[in-house]
């Protein structure tokens, strides 16, 4: 795939580096001349120095050939406008826009960005998970918040302890994805037995979260 990245900060740089290692063609645009020089020395990518809000710069970076554009600058306005230019002027099918301020995620969605990636919210979620002692954590939401991956840490008095998975009457539209037991990762089968202290990862519709928690951990 030909991937055009705008913004060569930490996110843009590591993204470009990773994608270059796969068999992708990468071009990267940044406003800062020095950043561009450094990246050009290090990565096998086409590096363009300029403002990607200018359609000419996008053309130089090969937008006509690109399959995806990822706008990952630290400026939400720039990211949004660049994605819109890519879609509206160059008919690019897929645009990924980094959202720096979580308040702007809704606006990104409404104004037609295909995949808004809210880096602040993601990081905040991970940190929240690490610092909280809650035994129920929403790890990730998909499909505009309809579907979620959640983690439930089974307390010692959980009703499902010593039960086989097939004995548990899971809510509709929820599946257990994996069980973390100490350092071990178990892919659950019907005859897997749950133990106290297991962390259960499940995929569920958001509406079924309370039911799932009640069922697994015995509380609401």
């Amino acid at each position: 795939m030909y991937i055009l990245i705008v913004g060569a900060g930490k996110v843009g740089y590591f993204l470009a580096k990773r994608l270059c290692q796969g068999r992708h063609t990468v071009s990267i645009v940044d406003k800062d001349h020095q950043t561009c020089e450094e990246i050009a020395k290090e990565l096998k990518a086409l590096v363009i120095n300029g403002d990607a809000c200018d359609p000419k710069i996008l053309e130089e970076a090969g937008i006509m050939r690109a399959d995806v554009l990822a706008a990952v600058t630290g400026d939400d306005e720039d990211n949004l406008i660049i994605c819109q230019l890519a879609k509206e002027k160059f008919n690019l099918q897929r645009t990924v826009g980094r959202v720096n301020n979580p308040d702007n995620e809704y606006t990104f969605n409404e104004l037609g960005i295909d995949v808004p990636v809210d880096s602040t919210k993601i990081i905040a979620k991970i940190i929240e998970e690490e610092v909280s002692f809650s035994d129920f954590v929403n790890l990730m939401s998909f499909k505009r918040g309809k579907l979620a991956i959640v983690r439930v840490d089974l307390p010692t008095d959980a009703p499902v302890i010593n039960k086989q998975i097939k004995e548990i009457d899971l809510p509709k539209d929820a599946v257990l994805v994996s069980i973390l037991r100490g350092e071990e990762v178990i892919l659950p089968k019907g005859d897997t037995v749950l133990k106290s202290g297991d962390d259960v990862i499940a995929l569920t519709l958001i509406g079924n979260e309370p039911q799932l928690l009640h069922l697994l951990a015995g509380k609401l």
Binding site: C53, D54, K56, E77, L80, I81, E88, Y106, T107
Partner: protein, 233 residues
């Protein structure tokens, strides 16, 4: 919750508009003062509190510190009830996003964005946003001043006479220029059809989406708007 109704200034007029202006630079402040002095309800939003100094002491509208596309802030100032929204910060992208938020999310009837960059102005105008590019306008006007080969609207517009734009919709389609002209009050001088501008003949038949440019007597403006169902601009 603030709304158009409780922002009533001392000079409030019967058909006053509720206008939100984003950006309190020279243009934003001047526009706010003009509208406010005419009795319209005005809210000015700017990132910096200091910017509001430009409004002077006599401005009686509302000022809010914040971002022009902050949904919560816009709701707080009653954007849903506003009649017009004008984004005139010094950032093209900020203006374009604020304007799209006002138009697409809050459905403000009249939304205008100022854009310096002519390229972006063209692209977003083609996407249906109402764009004012100072760069393009001013350079065209300056050119006309220098070359002196053209008349511009600012040469015609005065206290008594103005230039009016009429968009042809169903109620006018099929009529001729002669049906539109009102001797002494309105004369159509130009017709834009697609991207071509021409001087129409009196028997030219109008089509939907044509834009007519006419010279109009300011005192008859209200009747003319009513006659052609133009609504308030």
């Amino acid at each position: 919750m603030l709304s158009a109704n409780n922002l009533t200034g001392k000079g409030r007029i019967a058909n006053g508009m509720y206008v939100i202006i984003v950006g309190c630079g020279r243009v934003g402040a001047q526009l706010a003062k003009l509208l406010s002095a005419e009795g319209h309800d005005v809210v000015v939003i700017d990132k910096l509190r200091e910017s509001f100094i430009r409004l002077g002491d006599t401005f009686n509208g509302l000022t809010m510190v914040g971002n022009g596309f902050d949904l919560a802030l816009l709701k707080q100032v009653g954007v849903e009830k506003s009649d017009a929204f004008c984004a005139v910060t010094n950032g093209d992208n900020t203006n374009l996003i604020s304007a799209q938020v006002a138009k697409k999310i809050f459905r403000v009837p009249k939304v205008i964005a100022r854009v310096y960059d002519p390229q972006r102005a063209h692209i977003y105008a083609a996407l249906g946003l109402d764009i004012m590019s100072g760069t393009m306008l001013l350079s065209a006007m300056l050119r006309d001043k220098i070359i002196e080969s053209r008349f511009s609207s600012y040469l015609i517009e005065s206290k008594d006479l103005g230039v009016i734009e009429i968009e042809v919709k169903d109620n006018l389609a099929g009529k001729t220029i002669q049906d539109i002209n009102i001797p002494g009050d309105l004369i159509v001088v130009a017709l834009r059809r697609m991207q071509v501008v021409s001087i129409p003949e009196t028997r030219t038949v109008l089509k939907n989406k044509d834009i007519l440019m006419g010279v109009v007597k300011v005192s008859s403006l209200k009747e003319i708007r009513e006659k052609f169902q133009l609504g308030e601009k």
